[in-house]
Symmetry: D2
Subunit: 324 residues, 4 copies
């Protein structure tokens, strides 16, 4: 599954782990302003915000996993199996297929306020990209510099939640995940006081005991808890290098190590890539599972008034710096 | 605190996280065969195995945190406060100070069998390197390609344990840590069967649920459990790049993120560096907290018949690969 | 707070712990068939099913905590603070105050099917018994011999859930509590296999290890999990004595011991009484916190065609059998 | 397995749960002062302290599970499989078989100080009561009004530990169990402060959340933690009825409900009896699994200068008080 987080120590960052057992040849993909998005039911838009993110490009169409536009608005889709329900189209609403949702929002909106207006008239419809590429069951996190929302297409309609933690994982629904945090109030970065039996001498035998109760597994509920705790207590220096490095450390707290999460038929879910976008400057940083070094692609270093997609193949090879 | 692990997917690897709130200017340090080790009570040895590892060099003396010698024997010291007791010297025994222990063992031994012989006559004595550099309370893991042992200097004498898991963290004693694993028998990389109430429909709502019960905090007991689970279930490809990358993923499961573990007085324990030595080939890989890229130093690329220490300053700066 | 359970080893049982920090002079109370229930908005009903249960009787009115009627239908109200919302009355619906809800349902219904019909037209209104006795925020479990439902008066309307576990505690909502059980699939009454590290020798050092992961605290979520696990795995002999004894053992797994749950201002929540009704035979068994012995009152041993409430004061004094 | 606790709210109490899958026809057994104890290697003692407790009487010999003598000294044996080692006899030491240990100590000692003197010269020997009754692997808790000790016959000799918690369960060793409490420092009877993310609004949605982290299973480690937490935070009134009732509530927190702990071959461990001795007054209270009512036998109501065992068969039948 996946984990998306936001982090705002001094600049603003948005990113995610993509956790799957297979890769779909995703690439860092920049969509310039005049690339023509042909929405299946809403016509063409060839004049929109430019965006950068990770996508599988099929028939010259960017199927974005997550992206950030030139206004700093970001959006990621995460797996939501068993819960996501896409509906038939309805006259009078903005009928958008799930695979068009990121371009639709990031192409037109600069802020969460604008996003909410768009969501008020949207209908997420059950329309496949192609027979070979059916829709994935997804929910989304959308964030600007100030705040974020979660969008969940449930059987009883589209739910939009304000997201006070800036984190999203997978099942169950966001409302449940948020409530579940209440069970971790006592978790702390500090050594706990002895409230168990104050008259008994109990040894704080090592640092880190305050974190007891944090779950250590890879389920989506546990990743939600750990990612929130990490993000809210994170400390970094006020530099881009420190903040980006720290962002990947936060994602590492919910990283899926190959072998620890069996997906059946001999495969394992693992963190195929991790991304971190500086949404203020449009710099998209990422790492792949096999390459620890961070790679960066800048939105604003590209010709954004173009109409052609720009893609960068991922750096899968481990880049080791040999000293001798 | 710290975590040391061993991993042997096809080649053999030994490494550790160093978790502290301050750095002591450690460097990758190679001690060639004829560097004169002047043991305080055991005389000079200027004809010994060469070794590579992380050390703070003071007055031309390598205070190793961990190292591997040219025979592939590895050894790491980890914090053991409140438990480690160093003794007065005793006639007729090999009186070795704690700070000399790694050179003493790695200089002379090629296998754990030889290590056990040396340990039979050793006395770990309470002798500071200098007034400014008192001894740290430590215990050690020592490993060859086949097996590993833990050495703990307790009040009632030196304890030597066979280590079936190849992992060491900090307090409490290794014997306790090993027993504590019994409480995690049920943890699994697979989705668990519903044994709670077989007649009740319980949804395996996401992958990773088999790991429930794994602790997610940074205490030494929890890191011991997580590191063992990760090491025993790890899957990688039979290449050096995959194994080394995976080794750092294993260390990342117990990595200390800055901000999550307060050490008092406004400081935080964090993983200052992570190391991974291919003990077959004498290649020492490491990362620092601020630099995700892996750096490598090869023992056998240096003139090992020299008598001069060779040091490499650590790469602390984030090395980002910019695509555009 | 409270826990209600159902148990059907051979006969059918329904009961609950009442957990509070104060007692309201509750008594075992039998309402015969012709006692006139004067519903505030629905008129008088003086011809209804007889019922037995625990109630505080005020101005000759039985404010039932839980009760069972002569058809074996049972119903209990449990604390639901912050969630329960009672509404204004609405023309054309059955406007029933929360305090009238148990008499309304148990007076008229024999089965859950009939209950569901009644619920379809009900409006739970915000009407106090008196100025001195405002409404408590409650939700309810209702059970016949076959099945049970939960009724929750939420801000967005009355929710009725089928209850596959026959258990109810308190916050959060039943839907959440039921989903939360998914996190305990692996809990077992048997010793677990070693799936942590199958090649490592891990000792099953005592019986009971299969239950690891069960929470041991007194929160309503933890009581829901424990009570469900206990009920679904309970074993007793096919006798009334064994089943009743076992029912109280099940309630004891979620019993609140005085001192372990501070309610503020120097008081403690504790299990004021536990009840177990054999709903087939109309026998109401109970224990108080201070008296371990079981006391029993039989519905059918009373003149049920009467119009006068019948009450039994609770046995609060410890009844010890002295052998010498 | 079993749990023994001590509790001293105003008077002093000692008792235990006996958890097994079979019963051995135990009875409340009083040994008067002149009953001749024929120690197999230490000769006859027919002039000793009188004692009361639970025993299986075989060939007129009281095989005590636990007992209290007329001086208030108490002692209980608890299962310790895989750890307990009984030794060959040794000249010059007090060679006592495990089955004679309780009579040996309680017959002669009034205080823990005297117990420690006795233990200094004891040898717990490997001598069966009979071929049909081999020794059980046991460890013991011994308590006077002030303090308690644990005695563990390990492979490397008899270990005697001061017991600051007054609790004993089963495996692993007491030293481990005591250290393990350090992992529960944060558990509290109060609602926890939000230290997880202080700037995030987390709802303390029910009382009892402070207890989160307490284990809810029946393993001996979990029972040790729960029993200690319960005992140290218990609140009762200064009356015998309240204290005795509360003592059984404390034991109920670690009670084994039938069905929840499979012992193999279709049997279940369950709490066969619970006992609570007022050691100041020599009153032995107990309950059986099938009978909730407390039964009491008084030591000092019997002719203690006799030489004949006095036994009371257990009350196994549920004693219900019927009101109508």
């Amino acid at each position: 599954m996946c984990t998306a987080i936001t982090y705002a120590p001094h600049a603003h960052y948005f990113g995610r782990n993509l956790d799957l057992n297979v890769s779909y040849h995703e690439q860092v993909t920049i969509t310039p302003r005049h690339y023509p998005f042909n929405f299946r039911r809403m016509g063409e838009n060839a004049n929109h915000y430019a965006m950068i993110g990770m996508a599988t490009v099929v028939e010259d169409y960017p199927l974005y996993y997550e992206a950030t536009n030139e206004k700093g608005l970001s959006m990621a889709g995460l797996n939501f199996p068993g819960n996501a329900v896409f509906k038939p189209e309805v006259d009078g609403r903005d009928n958008i297929s799930s695979f068009e949702f990121i371009p639709w929002i990031l192409g037109q909106c600069a802020t969460i306020e604008e996003v909410k207006e768009r969501l008020a008239t949207i209908q997420l419809i059950n329309l496949n990209f192609s027979d070979a590429l059916p829709l994935h069951p997804l929910h989304w996190i959308i964030a600007d510099s100030d705040t974020s929302v979660v969008v969940e297409p449930m059987a009883d309609g589209l739910r939009v939640y304000d997201n006070p933690v800036g984190v999203l994982t997978n099942n169950p629904s966001f409302e449940y995940q948020l409530f579940n945090l209440n069970d971790y109030r006592h978790v702390s970065t500090k050594l706990p006081a002895n409230t168990f039996a104050p008259t008994l001498n109990l040894d704080a035998y090592c640092l880190g005991l305050g974190g007891q109760g944090l779950p250590g597994d890879l389920s989506s509920t546990s990743r939600f808890v750990r990612a929130t705790f990490a993000t809210f207590n994170s400390v970094c220096e006020p530099t881009e290098a420190s903040a980006v490095g720290q962002f990947f450390k936060l994602l590492d707290t919910v990283m899926q190590t190959r072998g620890l999460n069996e997906a059946g038929d001999g495969t394992y879910e693992y963190t195929i890539y991790s991304s971190c976008c500086n949404v203020d400057d449009g710099i998209y940083y990422y790492r792949t599972y096999g390459n620890n070094q961070i790679t960066a692609v800048s939105l604003f270093h590209e010709p954004l008034d173009s109409d052609r997609l720009i893609t960068y193949r991922l750096q899968y090879q481990q880049q080791i710096h040999y000293e001798n």
